[in-house]
């Protein structure tokens, strides 16, 4: 029982990291709370659905294409809609709500509001002791962890990552070094949306796909990001593990609503006591 709970916790933590990283990156760079983040998850899922059952592509080809599509749309959204709101937190938030409504509406028009599903690329279960692990969930968790590791390397080890960290920490100083923070906005927004799309594409075979599926995703991303501190990448990673473990434990013993309630109360407590979150910076 305990092993099972821990394994479920580990798998959902990996997914939460992927959901939250893009959200926190976009806030860290553009100071925009992107309420449409869940809709980019939805785009990733629908892209996999359209590419596999519409064009007959294999899942292995559809997965990266779906993530790239979400990232590309994110780039466009930054250009057309969000650029002007850099620094205007309230305005950017309202625009992201409008974008969320539009994307939900577009998905409902293109794919109807019926639930769709994608065939599982991996099947079967793995047994460790008395714990039973579905292989498809293991694949998702493994892939998500690999993507998080790649993102970590990008941010920590490349010149581009250095510039990203510099914008988040001190845009003025970066400007003094001759780099305009604005030049990084499209890339940051695109990468954030690409990560969201990847999360959607990865989980598409696990859950049903529908135009309003983004809401669950954004709730998880929201909880993780607030707990970890808005804009903090290490904070988001730590908070994902925290959320994964508490959720698995509370929902096993008290039920799913109680688990959600617990996490929101925790979110309120964090915002009140330490608004910068566990990760430290605001």
């Amino acid at each position: 029982m305990l092993t099972q709970v821990l394994l479920i916790a580990a798998m959902s933590s990996a997914l939460y990291m992927l959901l939250a990283l893009g959200f926190t990156l976009i806030f860290g760079i553009l100071r925009i709370v992107n309420f449409a983040h869940g809709e980019f998850v939805m785009i990733g899922a629908y892209a996999v659905f359209a590419l596999t059952s519409g064009l007959g592509l294999g899942y292995a080809a559809a997965l990266p294409l779906a993530a790239l599509l979400a990232g590309g749309l994110g780039l466009l959204a930054e250009r057309a809609l969000f650029r002007r709101y850099a620094g205007d937190e309230l305005g950017g938030m309202i625009m992201s709500l409008a974008l969320a409504i539009t994307l939900q509406g577009a998905a409902a028009v293109l794919f109807t509001i019926d639930q769709q599903s994608v065939e599982r690329p991996v099947t079967g279960v793995l047994r460790i002791g008395d714990a039973v692990l579905p292989k498809d969930q293991l694949f998702v968790a493994g892939f998500a962890l690999a993507a998080v590791a790649a993102f970590h390397l990008l941010v920590q080890r490349t010149r581009f990552g250095l510039a990203l960290r510099a914008v988040a920490q001190d845009p003025e100083t970066l400007r003094l070094q001759g780099v305009s923070p604005r030049r990084l906005y499209p890339a940051a927004f695109g990468i954030g949306c690409l990560l969201a799309g990847l999360a959607g594409a990865l989980t598409a075979p696990l859950y049903t796909i529908h135009p309003y599926m983004g809401e669950t995703a954004i709730l998880k991303a929201f909880i993780v990001v607030v707990l970890g501190g808005l804009g903090s990448v290490p904070g988001a990673i730590a908070a994902s593990v925290l959320l994964g473990v508490t959720e698995a434990a509370v929902s096993t013993w008290l039920g799913v609503t109680a688990a959600t309630l617990t996490s929101f109360v925790a979110v309120m407590a964090i915002l009140l006591v330490k608004p910068t979150g566990l990760g430290g910076r605001a």
Binding site: R31, V33, L81, E89, L90, G91, M93, I94, M95, L97, A98, L99, A100, I101, T102, L103, Q104, G105, A106, A108, V109, T112, I113, E215, L219, F222, V226, L230, T257, A258, T260, L261, F264, V265, V267, M268, L271, L272, P275, A282
Partner: protein, 315 residues
């Protein structure tokens, strides 16, 4: 002389617009128009409650949760305790106001985007409590058989009667908001939005005023909830979730955030849309979102804001 006429026109435009909007359902006269009028009134109340907070530059997403508290309080007080509606309506406003007033000193220390996130979480917590506390709130099924509104022993079952009640409540709320933004009180509100340190330096303690406004906004949301509960006779938690708050916010933004009649104008424009375009239901959300984005891009100050600016009466 012409300047005088113009200033008279500017002064009369608001009341004239208000009178025209309020009299529209009785002039059209069909039950469906009264139904739309009631929905507009309830939504305008919620949008107005959100505007009270926006006036001091704080976006509260908990307003839908406060509306839910008002709705559940009003339903339980009349249905299970047997209180008359005339007593339940003000109590439905006071209960969320008390909660907001009690939480205010803690919540309102948080500013900006963190306040939005905090009130978002509070709204979710309120709705989840409705879902989880089944014995009192009926869980996901909500509450059924809520008695109709009644005043002076007469049940307001007919739509025109309930519309009159909604319109009267909205007008009273508008009058309260107008009173709040005039004179010294209005200057304090403007100061809270514009330059709080300056306000503090003039010897005004800001926090109690902010708390009072938060409580007042929750009061308006609670009234909207009570009207909602007694009009439909049935309530369930999902009616008071995140998207209800977002829709109210959008109505306020559409009409113009800083103008008294902004929320009502936004509600008049948006609430009938789903009712009128039932045939194009698949496209409704897409058009709604696109229209909203266009509005934010091209008319960032709202429709009334544009009219007002073209007359040159606001800076």
């Amino acid at each position: 002389m012409s300047a005088r006429i113009r200033s008279f026109a500017a002064a009369a435009a608001g009341p004239a617009l208000l009178a025209a909007l309020v009299l529209l359902p009785p002039l059209l006269g069909r039950p469906f128009h009264y139904h739309l009028g009631i929905l507009v009134g309830i939504n305008a109340l919620l949008a107005l409650s959100m505007q009270v907070m926006l006036r001091i530059n704080q976006l509260s997403l908990a307003q839908a949760g406060f509306m839910g508290l008002g709705a559940y309080a009003s339903a339980l007080l009349t249905r299970d305790i047997g209180l008359p509606f005339a007593a339940a309506l003000p109590l439905a406003g006071l209960l969320p106001a008390l909660l907001a007033g009690a939480l205010g000193p803690v919540l309102l220390r948080v500013r900006g985007v963190h306040f939005v996130l905090l009130t978002f979480a509070l709204g979710e917590v309120i709705v989840l409590v409705f879902v989880e506390w089944v014995s009192l709130f009926g869980g996901n099924n909500g509450l059924l058989d809520i008695p109709p509104a009644s005043l002076f022993g007469t049940a307001l079952r007919a739509k025109p009667a309930f519309y009159a009640l909604t319109a009267a409540t909205l007008l009273a709320a508008l009058a309260l908001c107008r009173w709040m933004t005039r004179g010294e009180r209005g200057m304090i509100v403007a100061g809270l939005a514009g330059n709080e340190p300056l306000l503090q330096s003039l010897g005004v303690d800001a926090l109690p005023h902010r708390c009072a406004l938060f409580a007042f906004s929750a009061f308006l949301a609670g009234l909207a909830g009570s009207l909602y509960a007694h009009y439909f006779g049935y309530i369930s938690p999902e009616a008071f979730g995140f998207w209800t708050a977002v829709n109210a916010l959008i109505m306020g933004v559409l009409g113009g955030v800083t103008l008294l009649l902004g929320p009502l104008t936004g509600a008049v424009l948006l609430v009938p849309l789903p009712e009128l375009f039932r045939d194009a239901i698949a496209y409704q959300r897409l058009f709604y979102g696109l229209a909203l984005m266009a509005l934010l891009l091209f008319l960032p100050r709202g429709l009334l804001g544009v009219l007002r600016a073209s007359k040159g009466s606001t800076p």
